[in-house]
């Protein structure tokens, strides 16, 4: 067996956990046609599928293949980090969506969730443009079904699906268009090869074409991470969509979007030596995107009365914070040899992503738990006086919201602090250093603006009395497992962030 063949064979072993997930999903699809399958069975099978995937990750883990430029898959630490995040999120969302669908549709829903989980996990592994695109679509396509299945009857739900579908397809087209430019420039679809070739090209006359490629790729992925101005679907879809799917939408596309952005634009770091101007243009692009995204998200968040719309804009704002990390990512290349790394953009993004996931999914679980058709929990007024009627729900929601505000001892604070540090710690030789300081200040101002609307909810829950009949008491279901896990994550990563920071750092070390 020659080494090329060996490498390829090993590379495809990397996808075993995802293949297992898709296999279990197929079983679920088939089961969906059988009679007598209820949502509990579907849920347990889905959890079992995730367990199998996790086990096969640990047992069938191959070594990293030797020749990066030939494999479409790469099992580096980054891929493993994204995979673990995807599987953990998948499990949390299965529990979240346990009672989301009726018995008949549940197995279909769970199957879609597993496929999307597999997709987001593959984004981290992808080492090829085509493969990356397929992985991203593997996240998007099941999402359409997941948006549609639980809310079949409501008009708002249908509007949400159509809106998401149309814009998602358009963003995929833009992404593909950008990829075609990259392929046209470099003549290869392999990411490792692109990282080598593109820096040399952007030095010459091709820099305009490369900028166009970057803009289109960012636009396509900007839809997934809800960056301004590609966020317009978010509030409507969040408001109309089923809460379990909204939790999925709030987090999983952001993970895959940022993972793809980090993978694609890692080359900017190595391009600075030959194409300083080009790198500056790209950094400026992300700088502007970050500043506008967080400001727009927070300012529009101020105007919202509906909780899920508010969370949608909060998601936009949080994407803006994370984009700080992307904007400063190339500056690390300007670091002197003796200058040690303090906080880099990518590691801050990875940390903040998980923090954001825990607090957003957590918030949505509590809202979903309280909501019932007779006594909807949709607006800020609906949670008024929650402390009196549902003290534990109120306490959990309080923790998540304080974390979103960014108060110390929560994951939200540790993440924001790392992001601000990464902006302030741009090496001395890096261009636009003052602008990054300004970006940190803009971030801080934004955090203060954002506090206003999160605090409104906290105020309503703890300090006001209920306006209408109290929400009926509900028994704690699997949903609560998700809520408690999220709360533990939120507090633990805030009080003692050390292990998580080390993991994030190791994950992005190879970029």
């Amino acid at each position: 067996m020659n080494s090329l063949e060996h490498t390829l064979q090993q590379a495809f072993q990397l996808a075993v956990p995802e293949v297992a997930l898709v296999g279990v999903a197929c079983v679920l699809f088939l089961l969906g046609t059988a009679r007598g399958v209820n949502r509990h069975l579907a849920g347990f099978i889905a959890l079992g599928g995730l367990a199998i995937a996790a086990i096969s990750h640990f047992t069938a883990l191959p070594r990293v293949p030797g020749i990066e430029t030939v494999t479409p898959l790469l099992g580096d630490k980054f891929a493993m980090f994204v995979r673990m995040a995807a599987f953990a999120t998948g499990a949390a969302l299965v529990l979240f969506a346990w009672n989301e669908c009726d018995d008949r549709r549940s197995s279909d829903y769970m199957a879609c969730l597993l496929i999307a989980t597999a997709g987001s996990s593959l984004v981290g592994t992808a080492n090829d443009l085509i493969f990356l695109f397929l992985a991203l679509e593997l996240v998007s396509i099941p999402t359409y079904v997941m948006l549609y299945l639980p809310g079949l009857q409501s008009k708002k739900g249908q509007e949400a699906v159509v809106k998401y579908f149309m814009l998602s397809v358009m963003s995929s087209a833009m992404l593909l268009f950008g990829f075609s430019y990259i392929y046209g420039l470099t003549g290869t679809t392999n990411l490792a090869a692109i990282q080598e070739i593109l820096p040399r090209l952007v030095a010459g006359s091709e820099s305009t074409t490369a900028i166009i490629a970057i803009v289109f790729v960012t636009a396509g992925l900007g839809f997934r991470i809800t960056a301004f101005p590609f966020h317009f679907y978010a509030p409507d879809v969040y408001e109309g969509g089923p809460t379990g799917t909204v939790a999925f939408l709030a987090f999983v596309p952001k993970v895959s979007g940022f993972a793809a952005l980090l993978k694609l634009f890692a080359f900017l770091g190595s391009a600075h030596a030959v194409a300083n101007e080009f790198v500056k243009q790209a950094m400026m692009l992300f700088w502007i995107l970050s500043a506008i995204t967080m400001t727009a998200g927070n300012v529009m968040g101020l105007l919202q009365n509906n909780l899920k719309r508010m969370l949608a804009y909060s998601g936009v704002a949080n994407a803006g914070y994370m984009l700080i990390g992307l904007a400063v990512m190339p500056t690390q290349a300007y670091r002197g040899i003796d200058e040690a790394v303090v906080a880099t953009g990518p590691e801050a993004i990875m940390f903040y992503l998980l923090a954001y996931g825990a607090m957003t999914i957590g918030t949505l679980t509590v809202i979903s738990h309280l909501h019932s058709p007779n006594r909807p929990v949709e607006t800020v007024d609906d949670v008024a006086g929650l402390r009196e009627t549902h003290p534990y729900s109120a306490a959990l929601l309080g923790i998540f919201l304080l974390s979103m505000i960014g108060l110390p001892l929560t994951a939200g604070f540790a993440g924001k602090f790392l992001l601000f540090m990464s902006a302030l710690a741009a090496p001395a030789a890096a261009p636009m250093r003052d602008l990054f300081v300004a970006l940190a200040v803009i971030g801080a101002v934004n955090a203060a603006i954002g506090a206003y609307y999160y605090l409104r909810v906290i105020n309503a829950m703890f300090l006001r009395t209920s306006l209408s009949a109290p929400t009926p008491r509900r028994t704690a279901g699997p949903l609560w497992v998700t809520a408690i896990i999220c709360a533990v994550f939120t507090v633990a990563f805030g009080v003692y962030p050390l292990p998580m920071i080390n993991l994030s750092r190791a994950a992005v070390g190879g970029l």
């Binding site: 960014g406 108060l407 001892l409 200040v441 801080a444 506090a451 105020n459 920071i501």
Partner: protein
């Protein structure tokens, strides 16, 4: 050595005890919660007394510091030397004034990149504030005894968590840990004011306080991170330890050439403004004070005492602990003109507003703005008198304004009104309360023999520093002196209106109005006693902080040579 070890072991207790109390009190209610809160407060007071009493000698013992004295640089030991640090690695059984409790690292194993740490200790600047925090808790619990009747367990629980946050900020020698404590006090405050405030505007007041302070705090955070990274750029050492940073800045500013100093001074200016912003909101200095009257008058009486006695001090203490040593040149070039002007303006503005108030609590609230303006002014005068005077004044103001709010709380508990105009001749009805009120009022206006006089004289001495005259030092002193006069004017007017003259009472809130009960005497008595004690024998207190305030003033003297 033995005391040092004992205090080192006990020091985390100052934080853990209130946190444990905060958790335990959650599960109690009614009389049980009251009794438990009282026991915890007494335990906290005893612990504080042990630590302060032992710490007094530890802090004055400079034997360990002399070893660190650098003759060539003409420096007498480090700028800050936190004693009795928990987790001190100890070389040869001697304190190293550092800790090994890492919390948030920024590099794996790089020797010059240190982690953010759990770094607490005592020195001359914070020891009396820790004492103040321990002392004030007891009157607060006693005052809340009958002014709070609803959900007692939760109320006391938040109160103790607030105490933990304040104490943590005073104890902290790590920038990030300081910030954590500084910001975390907002959560208890939000719930305490919004949940138990007596007035209808309590929620707005709580929200305003939260958002103002948070916004200021975030700017401070950027300033702190910026300072840490700027020092890293210049020296190659990344650390969040305040003593280490102060040291690096002190030494490297001296060694830098002209161009290096100029660029550093330029950076310091922005960093100082960012760092000071949060503290200016917290103190508060005019024009960042608009959250204060609402918060002070809407909070439950006990919390108002905490706010005025302790939380406002976090702002002034932050200036002292962080802004001064980390941006010494900017303190002189920007801090003195800017904060000085705001402070001086605040003294007069606060006093004028206080005179115009018709409500007891708002009057004391505005008087607090006036006094704290004076305190901030003395801090930025940046010399030995100013620093020791302002630390002493923080304690004195905490005691006297705290006591004033305790008395106002006792008065408003008895009557259904807090309008000054509704009262007259209360002396006839409540002689003992009136006695204490006059006593505390005299302390507040700076009567010789009572506590505020000493610190005001010291601060005034700091302001009349001829080296600072080019930034109108003498004018500031004149304004401050005028402010003291104004404070006598509005305080004595209030006393005359409400307590002298023919008897006129508003409607009683609870049955028959009686004079101070035993519990209330126990709440106010010790405070009044301490006011007297600090007035007649302040020298021991000043001796304890002498080494640390002198050393900080030395930093200022070096900076004065650089700032043209």
């Amino acid at each position: 050595m033995l005391t040092s070890d004992l205090i080192r072991t006990l020091l985390p207790g100052l934080l853990l005890l209130p946190i444990a109390a905060g958790v335990a009190l959650r599960f109690l209610d009614g009389q049980k919660a009251r009794m438990a809160a009282l026991s915890f407060a007494i335990a906290q007071l005893l612990l504080t007394i042990v630590i302060v009493a032992g710490g007094m000698f530890e802090v004055q013992d400079t034997a360990g510091l002399e070893a660190l004295t650098n003759i060539r640089e003409k420096r007498s030991g480090p700028v800050f030397a936190p004693r009795c640090v928990p987790g001190d690695p100890m070389t040869n059984g001697k304190q190293t004034f550092t800790t090994k409790f890492d919390v948030m690292p920024f590099s794996s194993g790089h020797p010059k990149i240190k982690a953010a740490q759990f770094f607490i200790g005592i020195d001359g600047l914070n020891i009396w504030l820790i004492g103040l925090a321990g002392v004030m808790l007891l009157p607060v619990v006693l005052l809340s005894w009958d002014t709070v009747t609803d959900r007692l367990g939760a109320y006391y629980s938040w109160l103790f968590l607030l105490q933990a946050g304040v104490t943590g900020a005073f104890l902290s020698f790590d920038l990030l840990f300081f910030y954590v404590c500084f910001e975390l006090t907002l959560v208890p405050l939000l719930f305490l004011i919004g949940g138990w405030g007596p007035g209808p505007n309590r929620r707005d007041a709580a929200r305003k306080l939260f958002l103002y302070t948070l916004a200021g705090g975030l700017m401070t955070l950027v300033g702190l991170a910026g300072t840490v990274l700027y020092v890293y750029d210049r020296t190659g050492e990344l650390t969040f330890s305040i003593p280490k940073l102060a040291e690096l800045i002190d030494v490297n500013m001296k060694r830098a050439d002209e161009a290096g100093q100029a660029s550093w001074q330029n950076a310091q200016m922005y960093l100082f403004l960012a760092m000071a912003f949060g503290f200016m909101v917290k103190i508060p200095l005019v024009p960042f004070h608009s959250w204060l009257p609402g918060a002070y008058s809407e909070a439950p009486p006990g919390v108002t005492v905490m706010l005025s006695a302790l939380l406002a001090k976090m702002g002034t203490f932050g200036l002292l602990r962080i802004c001064l040593p980390l941006a010494p040149d900017a303190t002189l070039s920007v801090g003195m003109p800017l904060l000085g002007f705001l402070g001086a303006f605040g003294i007069v503005y606060g006093a004028m507003c206080a005179y115009m108030q018709t409500d007891f609590r708002r009057l004391v609230a505005y008087s607090s703005i006036s006094h704290l303006g004076f305190c901030a002014l003395a801090i930025v005068s940046f010399n030995s008198f100013g620093i020791s005077g302002s630390v002493l004044h923080m304690v004195n103001h905490g005691l006297s304004t705290g006591a004033m709010f305790v008395l106002v709380g006792m008065l408003t508990r008895r009557y259904a009104s807090s309008q000054i105009a509704d009262f007259s001749g209360i002396w006839l009805k409540l002689p003992m309360l009136t006695f204490f009120m006059i006593f505390i009022a005299l302390a507040t206006v700076g009567l010789p023999g009572l506590n505020n006089f000493v610190s005001e004289v010291l601060m005034m001495g700091g302001l009349i520093d001829m080296r600072n005259t080019k930034v109108t030092g003498i004018v500031f002193a004149a304004v401050a002196g005028f402010g003291i006069f104004l404070s006598a004017w509005y305080t004595l007017t209030m006393i005359r209106t409400a307590f002298f003259g023919p008897l006129k009472e508003p409607q009683a809130a609870v049955g028959e109005v009686k004079d101070l009960t035993g519990r209330e005497r126990f709440a106010i008595g010790p405070l009044a006693l301490l006011c007297l004690l600090l007035g007649v024998m302040a020298q021991p207190v000043l001796d304890v902080m002498k080494r640390d305030s002198d050393r900080l003033a030395q930093v200022a003297d070096d900076a004065r040579l650089r700032v043209k």
